[in-house]
Subunit: 200 residues, 3 copies
């Protein structure tokens, strides 16, 4: 099992935990928690696959994604208070997750020989729209529309990845540079409270 | 016209009536009622078709589904108070509907030679996500996430159907056993107030 | 560049402006405004493409649509108060937009040799569901379900277009007659406060 696949599963796991915690806050039952965990983790990639016409959608072809989400829900229920003390570890894997989701979504779209602009957009959708769907299903206005958390980091990372790819930099180096870049951007954004201008 | 097709239309009819009554509660106009009736009845199957890549989605190829929904909306408007006295009949056809929707969705997915786990999931999505879409479009948090009404019955019925299929039981017997099983499960769930554990 | 294409872009531009203004009312940031502008302008056509199986969805194959939306967001931010004084011009282009979106969506579906009834429905979805998605993402119950603004005009216009097409009227004449008919219908509807019956 290569390391990118492992980290993709790790990202899925962390997204699913965050979905389960949201469902718990909303007092959903276990069925609701499974749906929200699933949608948070795989919703963005699902929208990407449907828009570009890659069906059956990818998680149907590799049951490890469903399995890891099931495990994440169970783990969240039994170790809820413990998880809430792991905020920093969660943040790290969450950021690795969005970095990888962006790159993997971007690459999948590039394979179709569609414009890199669309690929960049689909990379961002892969990383960000699981959270949008989660918020909609929970009856909340998507947080990311009001207080941009990581879409800009995804877009910036995606652009970096496209540049490195065009310079024919080695694939692994490109991936790790991009993920590291996104992590640094997000940490800076959180520490310095960067935000996009509002438009009231 | 075979009996499974007839009951599929009957299920669609009952789902559309329930959608129209929801729209009436929300004080929507006729256009809104048509959309909500449609989404309640055909939304789950539409999501399934899009996820597995079966397009144009199935209701585009058989106008009887649209016709039956149109009739359901008109009937709901003219006989609203009468329908509300038919709760038990509605409950019965609603349950037959979800049973059939589960089995038909499951079978359609199996034909693509995807895993039975995914087929089970798509059967449940076919039966349940019309209601989820209806609630979202009406500005409500989907009831099924909080108070599980029939997803568990769909999943249990789907598993029974897969087992019977693997045992090579006659198709019609498998279908009727599954539908009957789901009906009994739901009646028991309602009578005994079964529910899934909350995760607060 | 032919005139229908130019007006399609103009309609996209006006829809994107209206989306940006909605996002501004909701105090979204620029990322949120871009998403809402995009969804308002291209959401209806995207749903149509996904339902009929025309993927990658159409805006992925012509970057002018994304560019015009980006420009619309920037223009909206800088000239907000000026735009709000242009209500009548906006109304005109908005109506031309929905007329064209209806016709173009209808034609695209007819090409697949699906029933004209479905084509009419997909035309209406193209014109109307961008606004539905916008309202859902903004946490509002879709306005169009309560106070029908233009779905009826789309449907009536679509029927006229189908009739003219069957009578083998010249294409350009059919398009302009339909658009004009929809404009007149909408102006009458606004002036005379026509509305669909409620179903409470």
């Amino acid at each position: 099992m290569d390391i990118i696949y492992a980290l993709d599963l790790a990202g899925t796991f962390v997204f699913a935990i965050s979905g389960t915690l949201t469902a718990a806050n909303k007092k959903f039952d276990i069925f609701g928690a499974l749906v929200i965990a699933f949608v948070t983790a795989l919703g963005g990639g699902t929208i990407r696959d449907v828009l570009i016409g890659s069906q059956p959608v990818s998680w149907m072809l590799d049951l490890n994604y469903l399995a890891i989400i099931g495990i994440a829900v169970v783990v969240s229920l039994f170790f809820k208070s413990y998880i809430q003390r792991l905020r920093k570890t969660m943040f790290l894997f969450d950021t690795i997750g969005i970095g990888l989701f962006t790159i993997l979504g971007l690459q999948k779209t590039l394979l179709l020989e569609i414009s890199p602009v669309i690929a960049l957009m689909m990379g961002t959708v892969s990383a960000v729209f699981g959270g949008v769907l989660r918020d909609i299903l929970c009856g909340e206005v998507p947080l990311i529309f009001r207080k941009e958390i990581y879409a800009t980091a995804c877009i910036a990372g995606g652009i970096l990845f496209l540049v490195l790819k065009n310079l024919q930099v080695n694939y692994d180096i490109s991936v790790w540079s991009t993920v590291l870049f996104i992590i640094v951007l997000r940490i800076l954004a959180v520490k310095r409270k960067w935000s996009l201008p509002f438009i009231a």
